[in-house]
């Protein structure tokens, strides 16, 4: 789990890392998230239920200029009736210091299952969207995002 002072949200660390050799068009940066933390966060959301690929759809730009603010939309086609609706949509990351991003709680009153927000991406990585359906099923989608960095930053 996150070690204080060792996250991509600290510019100095990033620069030190890149100076250590990873200078290229895309900077390879160390990551701080762990598969265990991600798995635990997902388990908390699903309660251990089986995940199926599909139905939920995650939209992120494939290439982002700055990981501090990345537009993200998660949606699932559903009539949003009492019998057949999406209960929740959730976002997770593979390598941010904290795997959770957001959980959106919906109901038939939502009319549609679609939410847009802006998120932080510590580095190029996978973003995962999950949906909880009213029938108890859980669905997933994932997108790989490449993050570039601004050139002139504050020293």
């Amino acid at each position: 789990m996150p070690m204080p002072g060792r996250t991509r949200w600290t510019r100095r660390e990033t620069l030190a890392a890149s100076a250590a050799g990873a200078v290229g068009l895309l900077l390879v940066r160390p990551s701080w998230g762990t598969p265990d933390a991600l798995a635990a966060a997902i388990r908390e959301f699903t309660g251990g239920a089986t995940l199926q690929r599909g139905r939920v759809k995650l939209d992120l730009p494939p290439l982002v200029e700055n990981g501090n603010s990345v537009s993200v939309t998660v949606r699932m086609d559903s009539p949003m009736t009492a019998e057949d609706h999406v209960r929740a949509l959730a976002l997770f990351t593979e390598q941010n210091p904290q795997p959770n991003v957001a959980i959106f709680h919906l109901s038939p009153r939502s009319g549609r299952a679609i939410v847009t927000t802006r998120m932080r991406l510590a580095t190029s990585q996978k973003v995962i969207a999950l949906a909880q359906h009213s029938d108890g099923s859980f669905w997933s989608d994932q997108v790989d995002v490449i993050v570039t960095l601004a050139a002139c930053v504050e020293g």
């Binding site: 996150p2 204080p4 002072g5 060792r6 996250t7 949200w9 600290t10 100095r12 501090n68 603010s69 990345v70 976002l91 990351t93 941010n96 210091p97 904290q98 959770n100 991003v101 957001a102 959980i103 959106f104 709680h105 919906l106 109901s107 038939p108 009153r109 939502s110 009319g111 549609r112 679609i114 939410v115 847009t116 927000t117 802006r118 998120m119 932080r120 991406l121």
Partner: protein, 106 residues
Amino acid sequence: MNLARLSFPKTAKKGEIIEIRTLISHVMETGYRPDATGKVVPRDIIRRFTCHYDGEEVFRADLWQAIAANPYLSFTTVATKSGELTFTWEGDNGFRHVESGTITVT
């Protein structure tokens, strides 16, 4: 000053699905970032956002550090009747901000 911007239609037909968009000024300090002296700046984020339609909760979001500074959210709701939409942001250090607006449903 914590200011927010809201956007949703002022009028809608009954049963219509409307889009609601919100933007609020907030640093969303992650709690992982050291300041100039090397000390970690304590976490200061909005943890929860709710939208009530005439008193009834129609949308809720649990938020973490990975939400960008000055959080933006857009979501939908069904226009059921004329009434008030209330938006509440709550977070660390007792942060709480409420905005509201009315919608006329025909």
